[in-house]
């Protein structure tokens, strides 16, 4: 990509301003005492990008003082961070855009990183767009690949577009920091090097509670939600017409209980009144990206496939050996789902019984 023809002087001035931005930063999302794993995945990726550029890798942690900050900073160093910037303030107890964005932007303006990676969680997405607008810089969302183009030292961010049918590679050439959000479970988990140490820099959040208009009234964790959260669930068990009568879906519920999984189904089941529309998976239903998807009695027509291809692991159970689902599932069991489901339920119950070491 040739640099647009610009008068040498202004380009030089601009390049110099950009050069001032050094280092790779990763946002560490610590909420309600729990660090979202995507933060460590990005520390792993950030380490790689930093080494390619020959610059330091830093974590940035905004959290309330009573959060497990020391523990998190230690983990960040262990996973590869050289420095961790910490901003501890009670205002940061519940996520709100204004304080979090203010804190992050102040840190960015002060320490000027060239790359900032944020997990594409609902928190990360909300925060990233506010920060990017404030910094008037480029932000590429839901990236699936991140590399460095050494000729320009700029980050090449690849992401799905047009609903995932296509991919595109995007650069942020004339603005810094180059920002990107990455979905959970896209980047590999780095190795936890016990005993690896690094620097910690404390910073003060320069905003008072009464400057913040938005107040958080309550928070209800997902577990108590009644409506199916298929789009966000990690484990899903689904059934199709191959299960026959609707009563057989109880076998599905038994397995789901053992796994703590959500239940889904295909279009005909919703039509037959077996389940409500928010349980439907596929082209006209939900698109799911779980860690494990067990499909029982589902033929796997293209209309279903487009909704489940994002799953990490698909186990398909179908009586028909050449059911299309076996073309894209990871593991296939040819057999009667009505006998295999109970067997799976028992096997999982035994394997997951507390304290039982892996076989």
């Amino acid at each position: 990509m040739t640099e647009q023809a610009k008068p040498a002087s202004s380009r030089a001035k601009q390049d110099e301003a950009l050069l001032a931005y050094k280092g790779v930063w990763v946002s560490i999302e610590l909420e309600r005492g729990h660090v979202h794993p995507v933060s460590w995945e990005l520390i792993g990726k950030g380490r790689q990008l930093a080494d390619t550029l020959g610059v330091p890798l830093s974590g940035i942690l905004l959290a309330p003082p009573d959060a497990p900050i020391q523990e998190t900073v230690a983990d960040a160093h262990a996973y590869g961070a050289d420095t961790v910037y910490v901003m501890a303030d009670p205002i940061l107890a519940e996520y709100r855009t204004q304080p979090y964005a203010k804190g992050m932007v102040d840190l960015i303006k002060k320490y000027q990183p060239e790359i900032l990676l944020i997990g594409a969680t609902t928190l990360g997405r909300d925060l990233a767009s506010a920060v990017a607008t404030d910094m008037e810089t480029g932000l590429t969302a839901d990236c699936t690949e991140l590399d460095i183009d050494l000729s320009t030292r700029s980050m090449a961010a690849t992401r799905p577009t047009f609903g995932g049918t296509l991919l595109c590679t995007i650069h942020t050439l004339k603005a810094r920091p180059q920002m990107a959000t990455v979905r959970p479970r896209v980047m590999p988990m780095p190795e936890h090097q016990q005993g690896r140490t690094g620097e910690t820099i404390m910073a003060k959040l320069e905003i008072a509670e009464d400057d913040i208009i938005t107040k958080v009234l309550s928070f209800i964790p997902d577990r108590d939600q009644d409506t199916a959260q298929l789009a966000f669930a990690d484990y899903i068990v689904a059934g199709g017409r191959g299960l026959g009568k609707l009563e057989n879906f109880q076998l599905l519920r038994d397995l789901a209980d053992v796994l703590g999984a959500e239940i889904g189904c295909t279009r005909p089941i919703v039509q037959a009144g077996g389940m409500t529309i928010d349980h439907q998976i596929g082209q006209t239903g939900k698109t799911i990206r779980p860690k494990l998807y067990i499909a029982a009695g589902i033929s796997g027509a293209i209309q279903h496939r487009v909704g489940v291809e994002g799953a990490d692991c698909i186990i398909a159970i179908n009586a028909d050996p050449n059911a299309p689902i076996f073309d894209f599932a990871h593991y296939g069991i040819v057999g009667d789902a009505l006998t295999i489901l109970p067997a799976l339920t028992d096997a999982f119950r035994r394997r997951l019984a507390a304290g039982q070491a892996g076989r």
Binding site: E31, C168, T169, I220, G260, A347
Partner: protein, 282 residues
């Protein structure tokens, strides 16, 4: 009460196919539609029209033919439609888009003050979910993204309480108007307009604004020039031909054991993750 809804005309990406052999992108016959996520924002705004008699203005930034999306929005019952179209805007990324829309919305606010701006969660072609927050930031609106439901709205007290999807749960937030809301999908269903809506949509004169009319003061912040991000290349993902490894077991129980062995060996952390989840709620 006055509510502004931002919509975008996008290609119906579900219809875009990749040629199985040549792996080229086949765009023939792909119609343009209103970004599906924006329909949830439109319905939520129209509910405020039902409840409070709010005026609903719909705005879009795009090429001249984006007027079709505005006309469709009018058929659902919106009152006014503004098309922001100028060569200067061409090639804008989300940052440049939010600048142009923010300028236009501020311009609207000069003559018709607004209480809420609605956006869809994201677009199906850009998928970046940044335009809404970008507008909120530029206009100093309180940003409420991934909103699930508007719990209460008090016009006189200028207060709104919403439920929004947060990480691992649902947050209830209270903030002041004016605010910007991006609606989560499947929160409502777009209505079927009345015959009067259909007639008004066909007859309404759309307001066409170029950059100047929209109050854009700094054109260098628009279009390609104002876009820090540039798309280098668009390509089709390599076809993923993974055939299922067939589990061979002589009985359902044997099958179960084999598949779980394969699963846990391929995904080491899964057994502990599952165990952690299931012991939490016995």
């Amino acid at each position: 009460m006055h509510v502004i809804v931002c919509i975008k005309q996008v290609p119906d990406s579900a219809q875009i196919r990749v040629h199985p052999v040549t792996n080229t992108i086949m765009r023939q016959g792909v119609p343009t539609i209103i970004n599906p996520y924006d329909l949830f924002a439109l319905e939520e705004a129209l509910k405020l029209k039902d409840r409070f008699g709010a005026k609903v203005t719909v705005i879009t930034m795009g090429p001249p033919m984006a007027d079709q999306a505005l006309r469709k929005a009018l058929t659902f019952g919106c009152d006014d439609a503004i098309l922001l179209s100028d060569r200067v805007f061409a090639g804008a990324d989300t940052l440049a888009t939010s600048y142009a829309l923010a300028s236009a919305i501020a311009k609207i606010g000069e003559t018709q003050p607004f209480d809420l701006v609605f956006c869809g969660k994201q677009t199906i072609d850009g998928d970046t979910a940044q335009v809404g927050p970008g507008i909120a930031k530029r206009l100093g609106l309180n940003q409420l993204t991934y909103v699930w439901k508007i719990e209460s709205l008090d016009i006189n007290a200028r207060e709104i309480v919403v439920q929004r999807r947060a990480e691992g749960g649902v947050q209830t937030l209270k903030t002041a108007l004016p605010a910007l809301i991006t609606m989560l999908e499947d929160t409502n269903e777009i209505r079927f307009g009345t015959m009067d809506d259909a007639f008004r949509a066909a007859r309404t004169e759309l307001t066409l604004w170029n950059a100047a009319a929209a109050g854009v003061t700094d054109p260098s912040k628009c279009g390609l020039k104002g876009s820090p991000t540039q798309v280098k290349k668009v390509f089709a993902p390599p076809p993923r031909a993974v055939k299922a490894t067939q589990i061979k077991g002589d009985s359902p129980a044997a099958n179960a054991e084999h598949v779980i062995d394969a699963l846990f060996s391929a995904h080491p952390g899964m057994q502990d993750d599952l165990r952690a989840r299931t012991t939490q709620n016995p």
